[in-house]
C-alpha cells in the first residue's frame, strides 16, 4: 500500500515536470516565431518593385484557414483528453476530425506556396515569406508539439 502510494506520487511528479518543461519549450517556440514576425515586419515592404502583400494575399481565405486550423488544435486537444481517460471511440472520433481538418489546410498551404512562387518574381524575400510562415505554423503546432509531448517523458 505504502509502496503503491510512492509509485503513484513518483509518476505524478514526473508528469508535473513534463508539463512544466513543455511550457518552457513553448516559450522557446514563441521566441523563434517572434524573430520570424520581426523579420516580416522589417521586410514587408521590401518587395523591390514587385507585387505587394495586399495584392497577393486574400485575407478572408487566410482567416478561414486559420480558424480551421485553430479548431483542429482544439479537437486534437479534446482527443488527447479522451486518450488520458482511455475512451477509445472518442479518441478515434476526435483525432479523425482533426486529420480531416488538418490535411486540407496543409494542402491549401502547399498549393498557395507553389502559387506564390510562380506568381512572385523569384528571389523576393518578403513574397515567399508569409506563406511559408503560414505553412510552418500549423506544422509546428500540430506535429512538432505532439512529437515533443511524446518525447519529453
Amino acid at each position: 500500500m505504502v509502496n503503491e502510494h510512492i509509485a503513484e506520487s513518483h509518476e505524478e511528479a514526473a508528469m508535473d515536470r513534463v508539463g512544466f518543461g513543455f511550457w518552457v519549450y513553448l516559450m522557446t517556440d514563441l521566441l523563434m516565431f517572434a524573430v520570424l514576425f520581426a523579420v516580416f515586419a522589417v521586410l514587408r515592404d521590401a518587395t523591390h518593385g514587385g507585387p505587394s502583400g495586399q495584392e497577393l494575399f486574400k485575407l478572408p481565405f487566410v482567416l478561414t484557414e486559420t480558424l480551421i486550423l485553430l479548431t483542429s488544435s482544439f479537437t486534437a486537444g479534446i482527443g488527447m483528453l479522451a486518450a488520458h481517460r482511455g475512451i477509445k471511440s472518442q479518441v478515434l472520433t476526435w483525432f479523425g476530425l482533426t486529420s480531416v481538418l488538418v490535411w486540407p489546410s496543409w494542402g491549401w498551404n502547399c498549393m498557395s506556396l507553389l502559387n506564390l512562387s510562380t506568381k512572385a518574381i523569384p528571389g523576393r524575400a518578403m513574397l515567399r515569406f508569409p506563406r511559408s510562415l503560414r505553412l510552418l505554423v500549423p506544422t509546428d503546432c500540430t506535429l512538432l508539439r505532439d512529437c515533443c509531448g511524446w518525447v519529453l517523458p
Partner: protein, 696 residues
C-alpha cells in the same frame, strides 16, 4: 541523375590542399586508433551499454569533458597557427598561410572555442554537479539530456567534416556576418558547414536548457527553497534561462540564412530587398547573451570555490544572487554595442552604451562579494583558489577595457581593432576558461575519486598566467596602435612585428600550460592511491555534492534527506548528528539509444543539406521523426531498485573504502614535475632494456 544522387558532391570535394590532407589523415588515423583499441580490448559492447547510451548525467558530464578537451586542443592549434602567421607575415614575407586559409582558421578557432569548448565544459560541469548540489538522482528528462549531448557531438563532427569533404570552412568570421555569408560572396560549402554545425548543436543546447530549468526548479531536495540553493546552481539556472531566451533566436536566424543560401531567398542579401544589417542585429541578439550564458555558471563556480577555500560563508549571498540575475537581465539589452559604427544614430548608441556600462555594476557587486568572502577568511591557496585569483585580475582587466569599448565615441576608434580582441579574450579566457579549470580542479576528486596533483597544477597555472599576459597585453597595445583584427599581413613600417612575435611566444607558453595540465592528470593517475579521496569531502566543502561518496554511486544519494539551511553540508557537519539512514526504493531511468539515433539522423539530414542532396535530407528528417515516435511506444523507461539492494550496496561500498588514504613517509605527497620526468624516463629505459634483453 548524378546531381540528384549526390547533390554538389563530387571528386573535387576530396582533400587536395596539403593542410587539409594533413588534417584528414590525422582525423582518419585517430578514428582508426580508437576502433583498433576498442576491438583489441573487446570494449565495444561495454562502451555502447555503459557510456554511449547512458542517461546518467554524471557519465554524460564526463563525455562532455572528453569531447570539449579534445576540441580545446583542436582550437588551440588554430590559435597557434594564427599567431605564427602573424608573427611571420610582415613586409615582404607573407607567412606560410594563404589569406583565404587564414580566414578559415580564425573562423574555426572562434566557433570551436565558444561552441564546442566553453559550452561543452560548462554543460559537462552542470550535468555532473547540479544534480548533486540539489540532491537529485537524475534529471527531469534523461532522454533530452542524452539527445542534447549527442546533438552537440554531431555539431562537433560537422565542424570538422570539411577536413574530409569540401576542404573549405567558412571564411567569414565566427558569426558569419551577412552579406559575406551569402552565396554571392561565399559560394562554397564552408558557410553551410558553419550553419549546420551551429544549428544542430544549438538545438541540443536549447533542449539542455529546458531540461536543467525543469530539474533545478522541480527536483530539489525537500526543504531546499530557491534561497537555499548553492551559488553554482543559481549561476546555472540563470544561464539556462538565458539559453531558452536567446538560442531560439539563433535557430531562427540560422534558418533564414539557410533559406537564403539554399532556396535563393533574399533576407540578408544586399540586393532585391534583403537587409544585411538585420542579420547583424539578430545574430548579436543571441551572440552577446551567449558569452553571459558561459560566464554565469563560471561565476557560480568561483563563488563555491572562494567560500570553500576561505572557510567562510559566501559574503552577502542574496545580493550575489540578485547581481547574477541583474547580469543576465541586462545582458539581453546590450547587443547593439557590437556595431555602434552601423550608424543607428546617437540616441540608440548612447542607450546601448549606457546599458553596457550598467552591467559593470552587478558584476562589481559579484567581484566585491568574492573579495569580501576572502576578507578575514582562513584562505588555503590550493589550485582552484589560484585559478580564482587569476580570474579576478584578468577579468577585471577585461571588464575595464569593456567599459572603455562601451563608450560609443571611443568605440568608433577601437571597433574591429586588436584592442577588442584582447578585451574579449580577457573576459572569456579569464572568466570562462579559468572558471572551467577552477571548477575541474575543484570537483576532480568528486568525479575521479582522487584529487589532482597540486604542484604540477600550480606550474600549469603560472604558465597560463604568464602566457596570457605575454600574448594579450601586447594585443591591447597593438590595438591602440591601430592594428585591426584578422590581419594576415601587415606593412613592415608599422613596427608591429616584435609585438606579434611576443604574442606568438606567449601562445607557446600557454601551450606549455595545456601540456602541463595533461601531465598533471597523468601524474595524478600514477599517484592515484596516495591522492585518493576516501571521505567524499576532500576540501571541507559546504554544499551537498560533497555529502556523497567520491565518485558518487549511480543513484547519487542512497537517501534523500530534507535540507534546512543554505550551505547544507556545513550545517550537517556542525550539528554532527548521524541518523540511521532509512532506505527506500529508488526509480532510475533505463539507458536508451534514442538520443544517439536521433542525433545521427540529424547529422545525416544536415550533411545532406550542406551538399544539396535532397533525398538524403528527407531520409534524415523522416528518421528523426520516426525515432522520436518509436521512442514514445517504449513504456519501459524506468526500473526500480528495491530498498534492500540499496542497503546492501551502501554497506558493501563502506566496507570497500579504506578508512583513510595510505600515508606516505614523505611530507609533501604530490610529485613534482621533475619527479614525473624521472618516472617517465625510468619507464622508457625499462622498456628499452627489456626489449634489448629479448633481442639478446
Amino acid at each position: 541523375m548524378k546531381e540528384f544522387l549526390l547533390g554538389k558532391l563530387d571528386l573535387d570535394a576530396l582533400p587536395h590542399d596539403i593542410f587539409m590532407i594533413a588534417g584528414t589523415v590525422s582525423f582518419i588515423l585517430l578514428g582508426l586508433t580508437v576502433i583498433v583499441v576498442l576491438t583489441w580490448t573487446k570494449r565495444w559492447t561495454w562502451l555502447w551499454k555503459e557510456w554511449l547510451t547512458s542517461v546518467d548525467p554524471k557519465k554524460i558530464g564526463i563525455m562532455y569533458f572528453l569531447v570539449a578537451a579534445f576540441m580545446l586542443v583542436r582550437g588551440g592549434i588554430d590559435a597557434i597557427m594564427i599567431w605564427l602567421q602573424q608573427a611571420l607575415s610582415s613586409g615582404s614575407s607573407h607567412g606560410y598561410l594563404s589569406a583565404d586559409h587564414f580566414q578559415q582558421i580564425f573562423t574555426a578557432h572562434g566557433n570551436i572555442m565558444v561552441f564546442f569548448v566553453a559550452m561543452g565544459f560548462i554543460f559537462g560541469l552542470i550535468n555532473y554537479i547540479v544534480p548533486l548540489q540539489i540532491r537529485a538522482r537524475d534529471l527531469a528528462s534523461p532522454l533530452l539530456n542524452t539527445l542534447g549531448f549527442w546533438l552537440y557531438v554531431a555539431g562537433v563532427i560537422m565542424v570538422n567534416m570539411f577536413f574530409v569533404l569540401g576542404s573549405e570552412y567558412a571564411a567569414t568570421g565566427w558569426l558569419a556576418i551577412a552579406p559575406l555569408s551569402g552565396t554571392e560572396f561565399s559560394p562554397g560549402v564552408g558557410v553551410d558547414y558553419w550553419i549546420w554545425s551551429l544549428q544542430i548543436s544549438g538545438i541540443g543546447t536549447t533542449l539542455g536548457g529546458i531540461n536543467f530549468i525543469m530539474t533545478i526548479l522541480k527536483m530539489r531536495a525537500p526543504g531546499m527553497t530557491l534561497w537555499k540553493m548553492p551559488m553554482f546552481t543559481w549561476g546555472s539556472l540563470f544561464s539556462m534561462i538565458m539559453v531558452v531566451t536567446v538560442f531560439p533566436l539563433l535557430t531562427a536566424t540560422l534558418f533564414l540564412l539557410f533559406l537564403d543560401r539554399y532556396f535563393g531567398m533574399h533576407f540578408f542579401t544586399t540586393d532585391l530587398g534583403g537587409n544585411a544589417m538585420m542579420y547583424t542585429n539578430l545574430i548579436w541578439m543571441w551572440g552577446h547573451p551567449e558569452v553571459y550564458i558561459l560566464v554565469l555558471p563560471a561565476f557560480g563556480i568561483f563563488s563555491e570555490v572562494v567560500a570553500t577555500f576561505s572557510r567562510k560563508k559566501i559574503a552577502s549571498y542574496s545580493s550575489q544572487v540578485i547581481a547574477m540575475g541583474g547580469v543576465s537581465l541586462f545582458a539581453l539589452s546590450v547587443w547593439l554595442h557590437h556595431f555602434f559604427t552601423m550608424g543607428a544614430g546617437a540616441d540608440v548608441n548612447s542607450f546601448f552604451g549606457v546599458m553596457t556600462m550598467i552591467i559593470a555594476i552587478p558584476t562589481s557587486v559579484l567581484v566585491f562579494g568574492w573579495i569580501a568572502t576572502m576578507y578575514k577568511g582562513r584562505i588555503k591557496f590550493a589550485t582552484p583558489m589560484l585559478w580564482f585569483l587569476g580570474f579576478i585580475g584578468i577579468f577585471t582587466l577585461g571588464g575595464m577595457s569593456g567599459v572603455m569599448l562601451a563608450i560609443p565615441p571611443a568605440d568608433f576608434q577601437l571597433h574591429n581593432s586588436l584592442f577588442l580582441v584582447a578585451h574579449f579574450h580577457s573576459t572569456v579566457i579569464g572568466g570562462v576558461l579559468f572558471g572551467i579549470f577552477c571548477g575541474i580542479s575543484y570537483w576532480f576528486p568528486k568525479i575521479a575519486g582522487f584529487r589532482l596533483n597540486e604542484r604540477i597544477g600550480k606550474n600549469a597555472f603560472w604558465c597560463w598566467i604568464v602566457g596570457f599576459c605575454m600574448s594579450f597585453i601586447p594585443m591591447y597595445v597593438l590595438g591602440i596602435m591601430g592594428a585591426t583584427r584578422r590581419l594576415d599581413h601587415y606593412d613592415a613600417s608599422t613596427g608591429w612585428q616584435p609585438l606579434y612575435i611576443m604574442m606568438f611566444i606567449g601562445g607557446l607558453i600557454i601551450a606549455c600550460g595545456v601540456a602541463l595540465q595533461v601531465v598533471q592528470i597523468i601524474a595524478s593517475v600514477i599517484q592515484k592511491r596516495r591522492l585518493r579521496d576516501t571521505t567524499g569531502d576532500p576540501w571541507n566543502g559546504r554544499t551537498l555534492e560533497w555529502a556523497t561518496a567520491s565518485p558518487p554511486p549511480f543513484y547519487n544519494f542512497a537517501t534523500i534527506e530534507p535540507v534546512t539551511t543554505q550551505d547544507a553540508l556545513s550545517e550537517i557537519k556542525k550539528q554532527g548528528t548521524t541518523v540511521e539512514p532509512k532506505y527506500e526504493d529508488i526509480h532510475m531511468p533505463r539507458n536508451t539509444g534514442a538520443g544517439i539515433y536521433i542525433a545521427a539522423f540529424a547529422f545525416v539530414a544536415s550533411f545532406a543539406l550542406v551538399w544539396h542532396i535532397n533525398w538524403l535530407a528527407i531520409v534524415g528528417i523522416a528518421g528523426i521523426i520516426v525515432c522520436a515516435i518509436a521512442r514514445t511506444f517504449n513504456d519501459d523507461v524506468e526500473y526500480k531498485i528495491p530498498a534492500a539492494t540499496i542497503k546492501e550496496m551502501e554497506e558493501q561500498r563502506k566496507k570497500d573504502t579504506p578508512a583513510s588514504a595510505p600515508v606516505d613517509s614523505k611530507e609533501n605527497e604530490d610529485m613534482s614535475l621533475w619527479d614525473f620526468i624521472k618516472i617517465v624516463l625510468k619507464w622508457a629505459l625499462d622498456v628499452v632494456r627489456k626489449r634489448r634483453l629479448k633481442t639478446w
